[in-house]
């Protein structure tokens, strides 16, 4: 397929004697939001950790733009444009919004010896980004993350993924522990991410949230992929629930 962004092919993963993933193949196209569903222990998180470089598969391959790639670490995955946003979003709460956005890729100015952080540039970029992800409240970019709400933190994590031109944003339970208003915010960011040319994998327990934003639903059960091409517009929530539980 020409517009295929990522393909994970025949991935197997064992934890001791337990087979967590059994020949799972998953592909994501450009500008596509894929909903990944499954009960606890179905293997969603394991699959995602392999894609984001946090775990290594026992067998199977990963392709990006049709070329085989190896994800040795999370840094590898980030360098290839795959950003993962976990439920306890991976932010340093003591640092400011701007410092978090640019963590690990800080802009510096002047002589290299001085290693001078370009805070003006960071703050300006952060201010613009916050607007882009829909934080309309006037929050200064120097605010520490610890002063933000759960939804605002997710917004910062998503803003970071969008700023660094990630091609694929993986959201692992991004709406857990969030209020109604904040959840709507996150769903809005996901839609806007697609509109600006990003692909997403969206993992959630809450099927209603998934139905609201995704283009395609993939379902896993006990380490296997059991459905791949469910169109949320033509399926009912009950139908999806039946496939998840296998009844």
């Amino acid at each position: 397929m020409a517009d295929e962004l990522v393909r994970m092919e025949r991935i197997n993963k064992y934890f001791g004697h337990v087979q967590a993933l059994n020949d799972v193949t998953l592909s994501v196209r450009k500008n596509e939001i894929v909903g990944l569903l499954g009960d606890n222990g179905a293997g969603k998180s394991t699959l995602i950790k392999i894609l984001s470089g946090a775990l290594r598969p026992d067998s199977g391959e990963i392709y990006m733009h049709g070329a085989k790639v190896k994800m040795r670490s999370t840094t590898d995955a980030i360098a290839r444009g795959i950003e993962t946003i976990y439920q306890d979003s991976a932010l340093v709460v003591q640092l400011s919004i701007a410092r978090n956005l640019f963590l690990g890729r800080e802009p510096v100015k002047g002589l290299r010896l001085f290693d001078w952080l370009d805070q003006k540039k960071m703050n300006a970029a952060a201010r613009q980004l916050l607007k882009k992800v829909g934080i309309t409240k006037d929050i200064p970019p120097t605010t520490p993350i610890s002063a933000l709400s759960g939804g605002e933190r997710q917004a910062v994590a998503i803003a970071r993924a969008m700023h660094f031109e990630s091609e694929l944003i993986i959201l692992d339970e991004p709406t857990n522990n969030l209020g109604v208003e904040e959840t709507q915010g996150v769903l809005r960011f996901v839609r806007s991410a697609r509109d600006s040319g990003h692909s997403c994998i969206f993992i959630a327990h809450n099927i209603y949230h998934v139905f609201q934003v995704v283009d395609r639903i993939v379902i896993m059960r006990r380490g296997k992929k059991v459905a791949d091409d469910i169109d949320p517009k033509q399926t009912t929530i009950e139908g999806v629930e039946r496939i998840i539980t296998g009844m």
Binding site: V92, L95, R99, G104, R105, D115, W116, A147
Partner: protein, 338 residues
């Protein structure tokens, strides 16, 4: 009307500035320092005399240098209990090297610094690679280093003959402003403080240091080299402690294998009083300098105002407890987002 609006704006600006000042972690310690100076000055006219200030400024930079390194290390989420022993050990290495005619004093100095760097590297390597808590690693290292110093010297102080040494003058040469006697070590302390303060708050490295102590896993996931950052900070702390020890040995004309005993806890107390978080993620060089002055002036002033010297520790303990209570209260307010 427009004039009224103007004054109102200035008022608002002032309130905003005041609020920022009050919410800064250094504000509490600063108030305490000012109160302390006022009380001591009122109770004892000798406190602000030039001779007392000269005395105060002789030893303070030596301990102060260690606190600078420790501030960065603690911001990165680790600490070092071996600083006091390195403080005693490094001058022993330098002077033994020199006194046994192994080479010139300058080479001995570099030799001592190199050994300190190695000690720091081993600390950092064991903490990051073997994942042993820094408390245990540096506690063990403290015994090894102190033990080596005692073994090499048979427990006797080393002779430090320094007449006409350019290096000794550079490190801790004496000069006077009127009646005020100043050592070069004070200038070096200021230079180190400016450099490390800049590194912590204005450099990319500083962002990495804070991130490493705040959320190590998040930092790693973003490509921050946490292991390298921490090892370098352990090396920095050991080398700056060694430098402080050498400074001290030249100033008092003796390298005692027991010197520096107990410094590690005093240093950590100074750093946390200043507002650096013991758990990492947040650190302030300015706060640390205030913390150093609070404890050193307390030790000095309490004797001048006639409190028995043995009661000194009661006051130190009370200050530490009081400041911890203040910082944890501020931290809770900070978390609540106000």
């Amino acid at each position: 009307m427009p004039q009224q609006l103007g004054t109102k704006r200035i008022q608002m600006r002032l309130t905003a500035l005041l609020q920022r000042l009050i919410s800064a972690p250094e504000f509490g310690p600063l108030i305490l320092l000012v109160v302390e100076i006022l009380v001591f000055t009122v109770r004892s006219p000798a406190f602000l005399s030039t001779s007392n200030i000269s005395n105060l400024m002789a030893f303070t930079p030596e301990l102060g240098m260690i606190t600078l390194g420790m501030t960065l290390l603690m911001t990165a989420g680790e600490f070092d209990l071996s600083v006091g022993s390195v403080f005693g050990f490094a001058p022993i290495m330098m002077w033994t090297f020199y006194n046994t005619h192994a080479g010139p004093l300058e080479v001995g100095f570099l030799f001592a610094m190199g050994i300190a760097a190695l000690i720091g590297f081993i600390n950092g390597w064991m903490v990051t690679r073997l994942r042993i808590p820094s408390f245990l690693v540096t506690l063990g290292m403290q015994f090894v280093v102190r033990g080596t110093a005692l073994y090499i010297t048979d427990g006797f102080p080393q002779h430090t003959w320094t007449a006409n040494s350019g290096l000794a003058n550079l490190i801790v040469g004496q000069f006077s402003f009127g009646a005020l006697r100043i050592y070069a070590s004070l200038l070096w302390f200021i230079v180190f403080a400016v450099i490390l303060g800049y590194v912590l708050t204005h450099s990319k490295a500083g962002n990495w240091i804070q991130a490493a102590g705040g959320n190590e896993y998040a930092a790693r996931a973003r490509g921050v080299r946490v292991t390298r950052t921490k090892i370098l900070l352990f090396i920095l702390t050991a080398v700056i402690s060694a430098y402080a020890g050498v400074t001290s040995s030249i100033r008092v004309s003796a390298a005692n294998p027991n010197s520096g005993t107990g410094y590690e806890l005093e240093v950590i107390a100074m750093v946390v009083i200043g507002g650096t978080a013991l758990t990492g993620g947040r650190g302030t060089i300015i706060g640390t300098i205030i913390g150093v002055l609070i404890l050193r002036m307390m030790r000095n002033g309490i004797v001048l105002v006639g409190v028995p010297g043995l009661a000194y520790n009661i006051f130190i303990g009370a200050i530490i407890l009081g400041m911890m209570a203040l910082h944890s209260g501020l931290e809770r307010r900070h978390r609540a987002g106000t």
